[in-house]
Symmetry: C2
Subunit: 199 residues, 2 copies
């Protein structure tokens, strides 16, 4: 399969890239400043140019999107709006604009995160936009068939516990290798409209 | 209780208002162009002025927020963004800015809708922002305690079947009187972080 990975230089992106290459797939990497194609998917002009460059594809993977963690009393309207634009709307637009570029039974696999189903203190903005992405995926699935769409919702990464572990007290972390397996399941499997929760 | 109802002139708002008055509560109605206080809650300046006018309150109710229904291929980035701003961010900002205006054990009750859990064709934008609101509510609940927050997620209203029934084939509708009961449960009960699904 020819697979485009947005956010390929991030922790999850690298793990997905490695597993997909081992599986023999042809990979196109996308990043804001690194990779085969440079694109900030939250910018619609750059997104249109990216698709012109990339052409037809079998699977679209997104492992992109940072969100501010802070107590709800310290989060402003701008923080929620930035989280929406950077993580939710950017991925929604990746799907919308990619519909004519994926093969008839091709797939989209997005990324969300655990706070939408298992909230943490300071994770309100993250929870909100992850909830948006997951609901978008469930809804889009019934309209874009036979093309498929799923979302991987990982817990905190084992490899990120030093940086983010304090936000997730007692949460079972997930190895990046297993996160990559979640994406593999979505790409090589046949499910659609699913939230793949990890671990 | 002293209860503020945003979107009080809408179908759900009127039903909630009627039941809450029957229950003996003191009601402050808010609408963009009608009610005791005029406020578009998607405008932060108007929202700040509303709180100055309203003062202290025991329960904040929102029954506001319209979203465009259209096939995913006809929904642009602007449609998703408008749905986010009008329905999700507006309600989030109502909560954020209201935290210092509700009593210590006061409550917020927001509104979402069925497409986030049970998708319909043309309902992708609605599903997305409803999913955002529901995840926000689950997450905010653990940070704002002992203040409470819940969200009512109704199916299509029985009273709206003529206008919207075609979007919800075979869906069991919900009477506005039962929607009002959902809000009553959230306001007079003790739950928090709950998505109250109706029917």
């Amino acid at each position: 399969m020819r697979i485009i990975i947005v956010g390929a230089a991030g922790k999850a992106g690298k793990a997905i890239q490695q597993l997909m290459r081992e599986r023999g797939h042809d990979i196109v990497t996308v990043g804001r400043t690194t990779g085969d194609v440079h694109c900030d998917i939250s910018d619609e002009t750059q997104l249109a140019r990216m698709w012109q460059h990339v052409g037809q594809i079998d699977a679209v993977v997104s492992a992109a999107g940072d969100v501010t963690y802070a107590p709800i009393t310290e989060l402003g309207s701008d923080d929620f709006d930035a989280a929406w634009t950077q993580k939710a709307l950017a991925q929604i637009n990746l799907v919308r604009t990619g519909l004519n570029h994926v093969s008839p039974r091709g797939s989209f696999t997005l990324i969300s995160g655990i706070p939408s189903r298992d909230p943490v203190v300071s994770g309100t903005a993250a929870a909100t936009v992850n909830g948006a992405i997951e609901a978008f995926v469930r809804a889009a699935a019934i309209e874009i068939a036979p093309r498929r769409i799923n979302v991987v919702s990982p817990s905190v990464f084992t490899e990120s516990l030093d940086d983010f572990g304090d936000f997730f007290p007692g949460f079972v972390p997930v190895n990046l290798a297993d996160v990559a397996r979640g994406f593999q399941k979505a790409i090589e499997g046949a499910a659609t409209g699913e939230v793949i929760t990890l671990p």
